[in-house]
């Protein structure tokens, strides 16, 4: 009996969601991440288009303190695993629209070379795909990409060893400007 009852509740919720044009849960994130997760603001990240697993992992990392945050930890704490899963589903189905932002062409050209050498094995297809949970880099806001690298270098976040080595190699070869050129490359993807 109980089983049937639960089933009925889920059904109704499904009908409601459909009638209202989708799940209402993620709508409140738009104030900072933009409508449908595409940020019109020049620093908060676009969160559309990442795989559900990537999204869920990031929200969990915010909760556990394994990911640097100015405030997302305090927001993530308010959501249940179920809600996080639903939001992940929602955002994974929305297209990542690349930011239209000014970038330095010559620098991006130099950065391309570093990206291919040190980053492309995980950030595949010029950072346009989220395969293996690295997120999407192509067309992400430049400020955000910079902030993330700063976070990584300050050391709270877990990052793959190979990525850390790649960053260090670029710093060794071409300094901070070299690293910036890689970000310019990813940010300039149209």
């Amino acid at each position: 009996m109980l089983f049937v009852w639960v089933g009925a509740v889920l059904m109704t919720t499904g009908v409601v969601a459909a009638t209202l044009g989708g799940d209402r849960l993620p709508g409140v994130c738009a104030g900072c991440h933009g409508e449908e997760g595409v940020s019109a603001g020049s620093a908060t990240p676009t969160i559309a288009g990442t795989k559900t697993e990537t999204f869920v992992q990031r929200m969990r990392d915010f909760k556990t303190g394994n990911r640097t945050a100015t405030l997302m930890d305090r927001i993530a704490n308010g959501y249940t695993d179920d809600e996080i899963g639903r939001m992940g589903e929602y955002f994974s189905k929305r297209p990542f629209e690349r930011a239209q932002q000014p970038t330095d062409r010559a620098m991006a050209e130099r950065g391309k070379h570093f990206a291919e050498q040190y980053c492309a094995s995980c950030h595949e297809e010029a950072g346009t795909v989220d395969d293996g949970r690295p997120g999407i880099l192509a067309g992400q806001w430049l400020s955000y990409l910079r902030f993330r690298l700063e976070d990584y270098r300050l050391g709270v976040d877990r990052i793959p060893k190979k990525m850390r080595l790649g960053i260090e190699s670029i710093l060794h070869e071409a300094g901070v400007e070299g690293l910036e050129s890689v970000l310019q490359f990813y940010a300039s993807q149209k």
Binding site: G31, G41, L71, I75, G78, L154
Partner: protein, 435 residues
């Protein structure tokens, strides 16, 4: 008792309606598609109108707004430190038409919930199936002796419009170095609980660069305020707070902070039990507040001067099929902010659409609020909250273990990133509202 304007009685309303008829405004009929009228084209009203149209394109949505332009209060404090232009706070309603929303540029003067009608300034009558009311705040002129609408032109509150922000900025520019800027902050609840302190910080930043011999006296009707430890940490680091040369002096209620009367001719305010007099070259008097006039004259407020609502549906407890959101309503734990208003509007949109399409019960909404305050060069802080109501709509409270403020000692990198994120929030929310 209502302030300023007498109640529009039901009889008056009916006479009015009879006089102007319903011909003043074309009606497309209620029928199965149905009509939603939204009063107030601010954060709450626009978000509600857009969300409803998006979820149910067949509904007829009419947005009634009295002004030609919206002037954002959020981020307006930056204008005082000269890091933002007044123009960047101004938006038009042109962008809303393409969503199929009808924008009526008039003031709503009365609501008769019993017959589901709204009457407009010009006499036209709008029928509705559901009404959404998000009129923001009005200032109370009945609490501080000697304070009124005219005095506010000399002692700006800068709490509702661009003109007032412009006036305050002009006064700060005209002030001589060495002058005192007096800011008076009201008791809770009021619009944006951290904004008086953000304002003090932004003005201090301006004075530090252009009028370093000047100072700010902040008279507060409260004992403690939102994110106090974080504000004071910044004031100590940036503006000498706690030293002889502090740019900001803060006086809580227990130290004569509550302003009780003003003398605009002498540019003086009187505060506390001892009737202490303080003079200012510029006086930014932020008075106590209440729900916007239309809510009061239509009987939607209670003796707190705010609107009681069901915390799950935001339906007025005083009028059926009328939903009140944003600053005007009493949303319990949720502060009166732009972010809250947008969250509530999305909730109400879901409630209204499901009711009008006969769906019935819908899942409880998870609300979000977030407010940034920018306190100086590369220094921003934030407070956030996640909220849920109970199924009977009597409680709306913070989800345990969530929300809270930035931590003191967050580190320079975090504080700096937060400034860019704050500006990014402004770009996103205004984009969502006006384009």
């Amino acid at each position: 008792m209502e302030l300023g304007m007498s109640n529009v009685t039901r009889r008056q309303f009916l006479q009015w309606t009879a006089a102007v008829g319903t011909t003043g405004f074309p009606l497309t009929g209620r029928g199965s598609s149905g009509r939603v009228v939204v009063i107030g084209g601010g954060v709450g009203g626009i978000t509600a109108a857009k969300s409803i149209k998006k979820a149910a394109p067949s509904l007829n949505v009419i947005l009634v707004e009295q002004k030609k332009h919206y002037s954002a209060c959020f981020m307006s404090n930056e204008v005082l430190a000269h890091s933002r232009s007044l123009e960047s706070l101004r938006f038009t309603y042109d962008g809303l038409w393409k969503y199929g929303i009808t924008v009526v540029n008039q003031s709503a003067v009365a609501i008769d919930a019993a017959v589901h009608k709204v009457i407009l300034e010009g006499g036209a009558v709008l029928e509705y199936d559901r009404l959404i009311v998000s009129p923001g705040i009005d200032l109370r002129y009945d609490v501080i002796v000697g304070y009124n609408r005219r005095v506010a032109e000399k002692l700006p509150h800068a709490w509702t419009s661009g003109d007032q922000i412009g006036l305050l900025r002009t006064q700060l520019e005209a002030m001589q170095d060495g002058g005192t800027v007096l800011i008076a902050a009201p008791k809770n609840p009021f619009r944006c609980p951290s904004a008086p302190y953000e304002r003090a910080s932004q003005i201090a930043w301006y004075l530090q660069r252009y009028k370093p011999k000047s100072k700010i006296i902040l008279l507060d009707a409260k004992e403690i305020f939102s994110q106090q430890a974080l504000f004071m940490e910044a004031w100590r680091a940036l503006y000498g707070f706690g030293t002889q040369n502090s740019l900001i002096d803060w006086h809580p209620a227990s130290e004569e902070g509550t302003v009780t009367r003003v003398d605009p001719d002498a540019m003086a305010v009187y505060s506390g039990e001892l009737d202490t007099v303080t003079k200012g070259a510029v006086i930014n008097l932020i008075p106590p507040q209440m729900a916007g006039m239309i809510a009061r004259t239509s009987g939607l407020t209670d003796d707190t001067y705010w609107c009681p609502v069901n915390k799950t549906t935001f339906e007025s407890t005083k009028a059926k099929d009328v939903h009140i959101l944003g600053d005007a309503c009493n949303a319990q734990d949720m502060p009166k902010s732009a972010y809250s208003a947008a969250s509530q509007a999305q909730c109400v949109a879901a409630v209204v659409v499901s009711a009008m399409s006969g769906v019935g019960e819908i899942p409880l909404f998870t609300h979000l609020n977030a407010c940034y305050s920018i306190l100086g060069q590369d220094w921003a802080i934030s407070t956030v909250g996640v909220y849920r109501s109970n199924s009977t709509g009597t409680i709306l409270q913070s989800v345990e273990g969530s929300g809270g403020t930035s931590s003191p000692g967050a580190g320079a990198t975090q504080r700096k990133h937060a400034v860019e994120y704050a500006h990014s929030w402004y770009q996103n929310i205004t984009h969502a509202l006006f384009t």
